[in-house]
Amino acid sequence: MKNIFLFIRRYFTFLSFLLLQVLAIIMLSNASKSHETFFASAANELTGGVNKQYSGFREYFALKETNRLLTLENARLRNNLATNFQQANTGRQIVMDSLLKDTLGRYRKYIYLPARVVGNSYSLQTNFITLERGSNEGVKKGMAVTGPEGIVGVVVETSPGYSKVMSLIHRNSKVSAMLKKDNNTGTLEWDGIDPTFLTMKNVTKGAKVAKGDTVLTSNYSANFPSKMVIGTIADISSESASNFYTLKIKSATNFFSIQYVYLIENVRYAEQVQLENNTPKNQ
């Protein structure tokens, strides 16, 4: 017995070392199980409290990155919203006949393409409309655009998926128009004041004009088919110095609420424009 005590006293350090080692190894091997024990949970509470303080402190430095990530995630989630998905609009509304040249010898001249309006401005001097239909779906520069009520504008830019339309309420818009009653032509413009009223210039004073008369597209336009509704005459002003009326036209199209439009392709547009731009040689 005495020898045992002597042994313990002599090797006390070594024994305590072994004890602590075994304790450490046991703790390690029981690590997953011992989480329930009181000591482990108390220790976790303590370290967790310190960790929480520290992460609260560190969060301030990560705010910028966190914001960026959240913005990215928001953008990704928003892109997955069902309203963002539109089927590519490749349908074609056939007006006359699907043949370029039918058996009666008629040529197809116009093709109508439906399109959805995804962008519209009306408060500027240069207003444009964006359509969700682009060159991949057959939209070309110079195509006429009409709405259900009346004409809307002319395509000025196309991208693979979208096209940009110069609205009639754009200061540079010019469309050839005529009076329904006697086919006298004039130029349709916009004075930049009121989006509901257009201006028709260069109508000869020989024309019989009256308020309420209908104004249509003329036969002379390369992109618009003839006799499409533009609007009705709201006011007539005649300057004594000139031979022309200036008419105020109430637009048939409500530019504030355009949802769907038709693009009109003139199949022979290029041919006509090229011929018109040719300079006669023997003159």
């Binding site: 350090t13 305590s16 304790l23 450490a24 703790m27 390690l28 690590a31």
Partner: protein, 177 residues
């Protein structure tokens, strides 16, 4: 400042530095894990009771363990180097002179070469044992060898930096105290 207070402050600082700075460093390589916390044990005073040295080391390792969520993993190597420390010191320094005139192991109290050997050997043992325990749980032999080498190298580098940053004066113990 008393030796006890100094070591308590060191305990907290080493713990916080290891847990909140070195453990937060994004891993450069799977072999390179910066460990410097065990330097606390190497810096404990010469004249500490060997039993208390073991207990303090065990407790210190356990605190690190509870922050990393691996109870026992760091405590075991800490106890091992605490046990081996007095033997190594006895080998490396002339017992009579140094231990009586200096408080704790440092490059001034021991001299550059013995101190470097002391730190190098204990670092290697610490990492060898630590990675061995880790390896017994998972991993292959290449992982074991590579990690022992990598962690020891990075630890020695960090300890060298610590020695250069903190100039621990080789304070003489109050004579005849």
């Amino acid at each position: 400042m008393s030796s006890l207070l100094k070591n308590i402050i060191r305990f907290i600082l080493f713990m916080l530095f290891q847990v909140y700075i070195l453990n937060q460093v994004p891993p450069l390589h799977r072999f390179i894990v910066p460990y410097v916390y065990f330097l606390y044990i190497l810096w404990l005073p010469f004249r500490i009771n060997r039993f208390w040295l073991l207990v303090i080391s065990f407790f210190f390792g356990l605190v690190i363990d509870y922050f990393t969520g691996t109870p026992g993993l760091h405590a075991a190597p800490c106890v091992l180097i605490a046990y081996l420390r007095p033997f190594l010191l006895n080998l490396l320094i002339p017992q009579e002179t140094t231990e009586q005139s200096y408080v704790e192991p440092s490059r001034i109290s021991m001299g550059w070469a013995p101190y470097a050997l002391y730190v190098g050997v204990l670092s290697f043992i610490h990492h060898f044992y630590l990675v061995l325990i880790e390896w017994l749980q998972f991993g292959d032999f290449v992982y074991f060898l590579g990690k022992v080498g990598g962690t020891t190298a990075i630890s020695l580098l960090l300890i060298l930096l610590a020695e250069m940053l903190f100039k621990r004066d080789g304070r003489y113990r109050a004579t005849t105290a």
